[in-house]
Symmetry: C2
Subunit: 407 residues, 2 copies
């Protein structure tokens, strides 16, 4: 058992296959030289399913196919994911390949096609080598490839580490588990980034409530992170709820609804923060809190403006308490605010009060900016709107990675 | 005489003091260790004046004072500019300092206060050392400090070079000159960046037409450049037209209106491009052209989205023909478009045709991406909207400069 949270426990070594009736695995099918590059998640029974997808106009082929699958009955039983190639901007051939990938996988797993989802991440504009994929898919039932940690590895691109979690909570006296895995790294920005998130739970919940909840939570978690302001063609978050915990069906009227909601939010927020922390070239996680805005929406716009600023991000990389750049980012957010009421904190240190500098200990500020988690708080003093966003610093390493990713 | 343009000549070594009746100068007053840090422009007679200002909510004190000056009679006769300290987020004391700076300068130049404008650029949140400024201002009439090149130097911050130009055109048979100077470097983004632009002309034109024209041209020049997406608190562009060329007053009905408009646009565009080319850490100028969008506004949004993408900018820095990042930036622009009609060129090289990859010579593309001016063209095929934006690559040097600017 991990940390005690209010209504749930983090399960030590918990992952996407911890909830009852779920399995996951990964193998190397040859899209990458050595690294595992094909992963899958499977539920023993069809699960209620919900998805959120990139807002990019160039939505990749696998997203179209997955949306079709879910549209049929709002259920999924199996998800397959490849890294290395995004199958985006690949025209009709790419769409056909995504259908074929789904078909092959569904047949191998023995599920109906519309119960299978596909996801891809990696280079844009290249066709999937279908022979390699086919060979890989034919092996997904081999015992040796099972293991959630293999799934976590298979979906990574330039990520430096696996991202997984599971928590346990009690609903109707039954133990319910929520687990998840994600990948991120570059092209990470609000409204779905180059990120994939997969969440599994054995909770019993209807798909329409699952869909509404996922959307609301995504807006406060995955959509509140940024690495570089680029929103990719391939992002999606899927949740599968297979009901194996046998709780009474969850609806907003259920007495334990809040517990479930907070638990799901915790898992999504955890994965989102792990993505931000592991942003390309990142050396620290940055959390921006905005309070006292006219509305929550306005606070969201301001938080995103700060977390997206290259100048704020390089200042943090240099551990320079350059609050002028934070003020500037607030000012160009396009949100309405009273400049003379704005106060800014770096960690606990007040650096701007009511729009003008407040004397502060530079050394103490520098120390905070060198911590693994840097916190910026902007108090606007206008009303009660609030929001939180996460991101990372901008380093030489980011430039190195991205000046040479493809070649 | 420089290059032959359609209706005007670039004047060799022309600058902000080339138009009849203008002078400029610069000196060291001690805001910076050694570099010249105080500059001014003066017209022998009051000039019609127009300004555009940052859209940042935290508008710096000098912008408020300058807007007050112009509001009085739409005229200016003298402009003073300091670098090193932005006089932004400095509260009431900062506003008083900006008024005092204007007053001291106006008295020294022998002009009425409302005919003087003030501008500042540099660190946010520090008060101007008024004694040093006062001493500097007292010397602005000394012959030794005259010279447009001194003005060009005085207004720079992290810029690596001076930015000036003048052109000559003919209106009513009279020779009219338009000159300008600018500074940029960091915090450069559409809607006025950390940039200052000053344009002088001896044309005879009414201030209301000058204002309308400046706004229209700024939207196609200074507001179409980006270095890092950050819009500063201090940006402004001022135009002074003193009428010394003695042409018949210019209005849109004047037979030579187009000539004047194109000339002013050329000067603003030239200065804007010079700012982009000299962006912090930049090694090349990037020009993005978007054609065939549903509207010009939509083309503008797409061009800005491409030019602002860190991933596009790092790919160009690495001379990597990674068009997937360009497609991605088009896709998340939020503008409506048909993804299946989009074609992309790097220089003359077609790399994407109707939404799917077009085979191309990687070496030739790399060669183009290594040129001093990189061109990206997106043809959308939807209608006739078009726009051009300018920016630069994103280098290690950008991170170095900005991780240590303040300390």
């Amino acid at each position: 058992m991990g940390d005690q949270q209010e209504h749930f426990h983090i399960i030590k070594n918990g992952n996407i296959a911890t909830a009852k009736g779920f399995q996951a695995g990964g193998l190397h099918c040859g899209l990458r030289k050595k690294k595992i590059d094909l992963g899958w998640v499977y539920s023993e029974v069809p699960a209620q399913a919900a998805g959120v997808y990139t807002t990019n106009s160039f939505q990749a082929a696998p997203l179209k196919v997955t949306q079709e699958s879910i549209a049929k009955e709002n259920q999924l039983q199996a998800v397959i994911v490849n890294s290395a190639i995004a199958n985006a901007c690949t025209g009709e051939q790419g769409l056909q390949d995504a259908y074929d990938m789904r078909k092959l996988f569904a047949e191998t797993m023995g599920v109906e096609e519309h119960l299978a989802a596909v996801a891809s991440t990696g280079l844009i504009g290249e066709l999937l080598p279908m022979e390699k994929l086919q060979k890989g898919i034919s092996q997904v039932n081999d015992q040796e490839h099972l293991g959630a940690e293999k799934f976590e590895t298979a979906i990574l691109t330039t990520d430096t580490k696996e991202k997984g979690i599971a928590i346990e909570l009690e609903i109707d006296g039954e133990t319910v588990t929520i687990g998840g895995a994600a990948k991120g790294s570059g092209m990470i920005h609000p409204n779905m980034a180059t990120m994939l998130g997969f969440v599994t739970t054995d909770a019993n919940i209807s798909s329409n409530h699952l869909t509404d909840t996922l959307k609301a939570i995504t807006n406060k978690s995955f959509n509140m992170i940024t690495v570089d302001g680029d929103t990719s063609t391939n992002d999606m978050v899927l949740v599968l709820a297979n009901g194996q915990a046998e709780n009474k069906e969850l609806t907003p009227d259920h007495k334990d609804w809040e517990t479930f909601y907070e638990g799901l939010k915790f898992v999504c927020e955890y994965l989102a923060k792990e993505i931000a922390r592991d942003g390309e070239g990142a050396t620290r996680l940055v959390e921006v809190n905005v309070e006292g805005a006219f509305t929550d929406e306005s606070a969201t716009g301001i938080a995103k403006s700060i977390i997206s600023s290259n100048l704020v991000k390089t200042a943090i990389h240099g551990a320079d308490a350059n609050w002028g750049r934070i003020i500037t980012a607030i000012g160009y957010s396009g949100e309405s605010l009273d400049p003379d009421k704005v106060s800014i904190y770096l960690g606990d240190i007040l650096v701007v009060e009511n729009g003008v500098p407040h004397p502060f200990d530079e050394e103490a500020a520098k120390e905070h900016l060198l911590e693994d988690e840097v916190k910026i708080l902007a108090k606007l003093g206008d009303a009660n709107g609030r929001a939180t966003a996460w991101g990372c610093d901008l380093s030489y390493e980011y430039v190195r990675i991205n000046a040479s990713y493809r070649t």
